[in-house]
Symmetry: C2
Subunit: 213 residues, 2 copies
């Protein structure tokens, strides 16, 4: 017996006629669709194709976004927003936790966030087209994440060598490259990148004599 409310509400209604949605909701639906669409075909994808995929008229898009560029801007914001969790700087510098654990926790969490089709492709596309948000994101990443990582490794280093910022970018790049191979090049990749990440982090720490438990 169905006592938990209308299950049929979860069934997608294939009603071919027009479907009237609250503007807020429709706007979000368009953005979500646009993210998936532009990730797949690039920002030169045609608004008519996007509309067709949404099951909606092309002219409707321009009711919610004055221009295509404005829609793309909304896509940027939706994708870039909250990708850098605000608590990472604190967690990365919490010296009550072994540095290796902090780094592994960060990169495993971060990689599940960014090793996603839509993020990877929109990130690279927007980088290619010189989007301001892209440069801002990388600057934030450097300042809020990588620079603290540098200092933590410096602090924990037991060897005479100490890492440079370029070394940190190298560590980071090697890891990000997994996502690039997966979603940009569409090359065969390990299903679970965490072992490659672990090994990369361990090699890095080893080079600077950081204790690894």
């Amino acid at each position: 017996m169905d006592i938990n409310g209308p299950v049929e509400s979860t069934v997608i209604e294939e009603r071919p006629g027009r479907r009237r949605l609250p503007p807020q909701e429709r706007r979000q639906q368009i953005i979500d669709g646009a993210v998936a669409f532009f990730a797949e075909v690039g920002f030169d994808g045609k608004t008519r194709d996007l509309a067709k995929r949404l099951g909606v008229t092309q002219s409707l898009l321009f009711n919610y976004f004055a221009t295509k560029d404005e829609l793309i801007e909304a896509v940027y914001e939706h994708v870039y927003l909250n990708r850098l969790a605000p608590d990472w700087p604190d967690r990365l510098t919490d010296r009550s936790v072994p540095l290796r654990d902090r780094l592994l926790a960060f990169y495993k969490e971060y990689s599940t966030l960014i090793f996603q089709y839509e993020w990877m492709r929109i990130f690279i596309s927007s980088g290619l087209s010189g989007a301001e948000l892209n440069r801002r994101y990388l600057k934030h990443l450097g300042e809020l994440i990588l620079k603290p990582v540098l200092h933590e490794i410096e602090f924990a280093a037991r060897s005479d060598e100490v890492p440079t910022m370029e070394d940190i970018w190298n560590l980071h790049g090697g890891i990000v490259y997994i996502g690039i191979r997966q979603h940009i090049y569409r090359t065969p990749c390990p299903d679970d990148p965490s072992v490659a990440i672990t090994r990369a982090v361990d090699r890095f720490l080893l080079a600077f004599g950081v204790e690894q438990g």
Copy 2:
């Protein structure tokens, strides 16, 4: 006194009228211009803009290439061709040379080849758009370069750990990422990447106990 022939022949003639070139030469000129153009604006750049940059009519382009896609294909071939020097597999496996020297020689040579505006951007653009040449290139890279590198490091390894193919891709990705930051993200980068490369290679070799002179 000018006795060494007509110097003025090296002066670029700003003749505004039509300039008739041998087809072979014009074709090459168009390809070269297209490489620079598409690298800058992406493959959705307009043929009219390309023609204007070349100082030539748009219709002329279609005299040399039946379609825009055919032109792009020619751009791919021009850019991808001979990027992987055929002697690297041999040089990388020449055990009369210390492994570290071989790796450093390869990556310094390879990085000067690929850390270039046009290559980097066309490589990434073509990867995004799923070009077949891109996947073929990466497959070749893996088979002809990275797999030998793996075996050489395995052979030279003095630690109990031995690298995996994923580790090699990680080494490679960390290095390539320099070029991505430079030309895709247009982020501040070291003028000379060779010190970062050297340090990355040394960290890698250290992790597997390879002698480093």
